[in-house]
Symmetry: C2
Subunit: 330 residues, 2 copies
Amino acid sequence: MTEPFDLITMGRIGVDLYPLQTGVPLARVETFGKFLGGSATNVAVAAARLGRRTAVISRTGRDPFGDYLHQALREFGVDDRWVTAVDGLPTPVTFCEIFPPDHFPLYFYRRPTAPDLTLRADELDHDALRAARILWVTGTGLCEEPSRTATLAALAARGRRGPTVFDLDWRPLFWGGAGGASGDGGTTGAAAMAAARPHYEAALAHATVAVGNVDEAEVATGLRDPRACAEALLAGGAELAVVKQGPKGVLAVHRDGRTAEVPAFPVDVVNGLGAGDAFGGALCHGLLHGWDLEPMMRYANAAGALVATRLACSPAMPTAAEVDAFLAGR
Amino acid sequence: MTEPFDLITMGRIGVDLYPLQTGVPLARVETFGKFLGGSATNVAVAAARLGRRTAVISRTGRDPFGDYLHQALREFGVDDRWVTAVDGLPTPVTFCEIFPPDHFPLYFYRRPTAPDLTLRADELDHDALRAARILWVTGTGLCEEPSRTATLAALAARGRRGPTVFDLDWRPLFWGGAGGASGDGGTTGAAAMAAARPHYEAALAHATVAVGNVDEAEVATGLRDPRACAEALLAGGAELAVVKQGPKGVLAVHRDGRTAEVPAFPVDVVNGLGAGDAFGGALCHGLLHGWDLEPMMRYANAAGALVATRLACSPAMPTAAEVDAFLAGR
């Protein structure tokens, strides 16, 4: 077996098509840039940019966009050995509209389902999953079978040895059983959250770190108060709960009693998409360093803020030097 | 009722995303331009650019790309009153790779089905269909219900009064019942053609003009020799059969015995996509003028050649002045 990875992420991969004209609806966008995307993928890229050895477990269509995703992963230094092709499903593409500072609707093309949701438990490399210093899985991985069982199997393979992160990533559109319709809205609501909750609870029982915003924490816990969410995530299995509150900052609560509440860095937002993934990659970087909660949250906030000031997501993930310079300037 | 349209087309509409870097695979494309697309739509645009009063019957998703399609139709002077929105399906997007002079693979995102394939017969404006000087329907409109029944109903409404064009448009990927997978290949083959043939025959029985390339004519007739295809299309119901043979030119055979075989204009091809739709719009223009076969085919070939020298499709459709200038230069 090769040297263990610092981080293995498991979840979405796809092509992001981002408008090169911002502040206008799609009807008025003339050109799009093409980028590697997908939340779990972006987290692996973010950690790789910080110098970590990372890999992604995901699937693509068997098509030229799938070829592109492999090429882009390699260019970012992310290992692609567990990114496999599926026949009969197109590689997902995602469009967005960019209305700074806080409105970035996404339009997913992941029908009839996404290749990454066809991941199967019997394809997993259990030795590699156990050996990785961190495993990162997402709530979206729970939205359909066989990905749900595969995600839970990957978590179970860890046996709570070493940081095992459950990104509460909540995309209600993906929970309709059709791989995700286009659009920003969807069925959503309390009913969708309640339907997803048992699966979130099952994943949480295997996780040592839970991270998400208040909406996402509500899916897992039924609660919306950040402190109550954090406590419920700890009660559900996590040792560390990280509740993101957008401009209000982030609350981190550890089972050992440590707590940190760190405000967000005010920045001129260009595109808020990807900031959460940058935060996630930096969080992993901090966990690997063994940093204390407050500096870790500050660092992760800084990485997120830097990406928010840039149009792209994956190519915008900052290096450690960029994060250090940003923090030094604050 | 308003003044009749010169041309009503019925069929696909969607967003074309065309690489702004040509001669490279999608993996190496960095940016895409966004254009109004879909074969039936392009034909209406082509005729509108030639000064004709046109409308499209189609459907979009209820999303910002759908809004864009309406805006673009209006900008091209194509009436959008019969372009309606469907809930729960995204507006289709289509990517292509551009390898001049003759390889332009398409990658469709029309899953689980396309809004335009949900057109229903009971939505049709029979008076307008009868009153239109030309009706244009496509083979793709036959690939799924309820669009198949709607397409046949539109043809039947004409009762063979006035030019009623059946564009043999054959996209084998759309005939799997799943709205079209990604990719250039597909199941294709003789079996798919044989399965489609009865529906093509049913449409042909209502049509006065049949137009397509040899592959498309084979779907309708089972034959591949251009002359034999033309004769079979006439026997199947058409009064005029137009068989396109790419660089070899076009064969037009009328039931009254007139025949024209017109070579293609040699041009430096930038993007062959859309040339057939330009040909179609110009064919309608000629039919409305009552031109004889030879000048009509020359004119349509010229329109197609002009579009092939341009990157875009719908915005590249030539005006009458451009076609005249092109022909004068040959």
